[in-house]
Symmetry: C2
């Protein structure tokens, strides 16, 4: 059914999660989990809307909203099927806007805005096909899938033809893997045991509860105080033993040398990885850290703040990243994930945080510690209309009430009440699935190519 | 004199330069030279204001304005002398805002906004000291200068102590270099001969005129069509000979392999550098290009879109950049330039474009093809009040008139009339001076360190 885009609406939605400090870390001490949320309307009789978020943590969401508004003129009047027929080409035209690209290019606010818009388009496409997004991607003809990708700046590592060959090669076992995943779900790890501010007793209790619930992989925050980190790691290992996995995350706190020195005494607790040990821009720094920590059996994980495919390419080229944590809300939507960047173990495990579930039209379903693939048409990131309305910033009901109760001093204050959390991990999750089905070995090719190339 | 910040105003100022396509290149086909322009007011009796721009090229300037507005709460009520006494610490606190950093961190729109704000603070400081900014920096005690810098994420290449040692070591010859520069000025090159759209005759004429005016260094745009590039390079070399320097600029048009292949047949025209051969994020790609082009005598220049000190660090570490083109409107203001990044030849030459002169309170002064150091207090980037008012977007006089005349179809149209140009090169220029005086060898140390480190 033909459909032209008639309107693009963008909303500033914020959940006051900082009131209970859930999700806080050493660098992001008071996150209000938020999003710039895009809704695409068309003139079609089917009344389908594309909904797409990009994730933010409070202040500045209005800046991303302004960026979306600056970009919508590229969408109005476009035929959606024409977009989907050459989605890679459309994506390139979009990110290469001759004036807006100066504000990036392909990074920061304009790229977050691109992500929200592209995610909304993918949602619309999947709804039109009456499939969950992962299934749309899985069923897609390899040629068509590759046509969604812009290979600009990455063809020294992977070309359209090479990507196509990989997809074709792996297509035989696709149905088998799909059945396995539907049956077993997709493994997740929990971060709930290791927030920085927890007391020792709370850590113990959280570990015991998580073990009872079947969790086998645990992540703790580190980086504020080394002695504390050692003590907390000891407690967690006492509870979970060494047959379960432990990961550590310092959220960009360290310089390169500092990261290496800090991790040496923590090596006895056998962390699987150290996450974001330094600036997310420092490819060579991560490579130096990975090289130094490799003999200790510790890998480097990063990607949450890695801003585009060109950066992922380099992280993979240089051996700077052993665990790839790509985020479809940070880079330019699904299209950019499809391209170059996926790590060796990207598809093996996804982070799990369960807050904010209640606000989704189709919340994520778990089977023990595994994610089950979504079943409803679309991206499954659509928020309930009531949740959107209540959390509009600054004048939604929730914010008006907080203001009346004196829990917000001004629009910039930090505060302490209520509790919600995390939905962007869910977007990441979806792409774990995607890789599992289609694209697992693209990353390997990328690495192989580049290690010989430089 | 004590002074607290009472108000921060930010304006969206745009010059319709696209009407005559000056400054256009392969990627930025219709730039309207613009800026988010910050004015800082204090409660001091001296009535001094800090003026600072960040450069943009039209659409999306309002997004940078929104980012500045999201950040101003960090400034209101602050004592300016307390900021300047620990400028590095203030800078870090500013860019590490626990919620806003999610939108970068330290890149894109939020970093452009940071640049405008920091530049306005530097302007205010210099005005308070009654010195041009370069002179404030030159005269500054090395300890104080180093205190302006945030060494986070770069201390694996250069520490505070190492930077201090370099500054102290070079201080003996400072006055000598200052006198030389005041007398002779600072060398510039011209880009006016080589815009992509010029006819062969126009190129010839432009070369002849530039030679008459004393120019010895010329830059041409390349990358749209190889045969054209060869023909145009031939014409320019016929006019300027081989005793003058020729540089080439492709403005991010190529992939890595493509850059190398494209430049091979152009090597016979002996370009000094190829500028922005690929994505500005691709450190390893630039390194591969530099390695391949080195035997042909061609260096790699980049930096205009290099977004922060962490990126510059890596470009210098990996030999990816032989000519460093840092921009105080792209990275986080003067503070971030002072830190890690400066290339071997950064201080040897600055780009020259002469448009928009008439809008500056203190326009740049030339001595032949050399820049003379500014003499008036402040940053010398202050625009005339009338120019600001006339070019406010979307309702300043100039824009209203263009609309009446039907020369703008809508706020996104491209058009063809009028002529202004370039002031951000001027900001870059100022920092060429700075390096010349104080910091020339920091880059060498950075490179030396890193090449052994990885």
């Amino acid at each position: 059914m033909p459909a032209k885009i008639t309107e693009v609406v963008v909303k500033d939605i914020r959940f006051p999660t900082s009131l209970e400090a859930h999700g806080s870390d050493a660098m992001h001490t008071d996150p209000d989990y938020s999003c710039a949320y895009v809704i695409i309307h068309t003139d079609s009789n089917d009344a389908l809307e594309g909904h797409g978020p990009t994730f933010t943590i409070g202040r500045g969401t209005e800046v991303v909203v302004a960026a979306v508004e600056a970009m919508t003129f590229h969408l109005i009047g476009q035929d959606v099927q024409a977009i989907f027929d050459d989605f890679g080409g459309f994506w390139r035209k979009f990110v290469a806007d001759s004036q807006l690209r100066w504000l990036g290019p392909e990074k920061g606010v304009v790229h977050l805005a691109t992500a929200a818009i592209m995610n909304a388009l993918w949602d619309l496409w999947a709804k039109r096909e009456k499939k969950p997004l992962w299934k749309l991607l899985v069923d897609m003809d390899p040629e068509k899938l590759v046509a969604c990708v812009d290979f600009t700046y990455i063809s020294d590592c992977i070309t359209r033809e090479e990507a196509l060959a990989i997809l074709k090669k792996n297509s035989d076992t696709k149905h088998e893997r799909e059945s396995f995943l539907k049956e077993n779900g997709f493994p997740a790890y929990t971060t709930s045991v290791g927030w920085l501010g927890y007391s020792d007793e709370r850590i113990q209790k959280k570990c015991q509860d998580a073990l009872k619930d079947g969790w086998t992989m645990f992540k703790m925050k580190v980086g504020a105080n080394l002695e504390d980190d050692i003590r907390r790691a000891k407690i967690i290992r006492q509870e979970i033993g060494y047959e379960n996995a432990l990961m550590m995350d310092c959220n960009q706190r360290w310089g390169v040398h500092e990261a290496i020195e800090w991790m040496k005494p923590l090596a006895e607790f056998k962390p699987k990885w150290i996450e974001e040990p330094t600036s997310p821009d420092d490819v060579l720094g991560h490579a130096a850290i990975a090289k130094a920590l490799n003999p200790l059996g510790i890998g480097v994980a990063t990607g949450e703040h890695c801003h585009n495919r060109v950066m992922f390419k380099q992280f993979l080229q240089s051996g700077a990243m052993q665990y790839c944590q790509i985020d479809s809300c940070r880079i330019g939507g699904v299209n950019e994930i499809l391209g170059p960047a996926n790590g060796q173990e990207m598809s093996s495990v996804c982070e799990y945080v369960d807050h904010l579930r209640e606000h989704f039209v189709y919340p994520v379903e778990m089977k023990g510690p595994n994610y089950l693939p979504p079943t409803k048409p679309g991206y499954s990131t659509e928020l309930k209309p009531g949740s959107i309305e209540d959390h509009l910033y600054p004048n939604g009901r929730v914010w008006e009430e907080l203001r009346k109760e004196g829990k917000i001093k001004n629009s910039f204050g930090s505060f302490s009440f209520l509790c919600f959390n995390n939905f962007y991990k869910f977007c990441i999750f979806l792409f774990g699935l995607l890789f599992h089905f289609q694209l697992l070995s693209l990353g390997h090719l990328c690495i192989t190519h580049s290690q010989t190339g430089l």
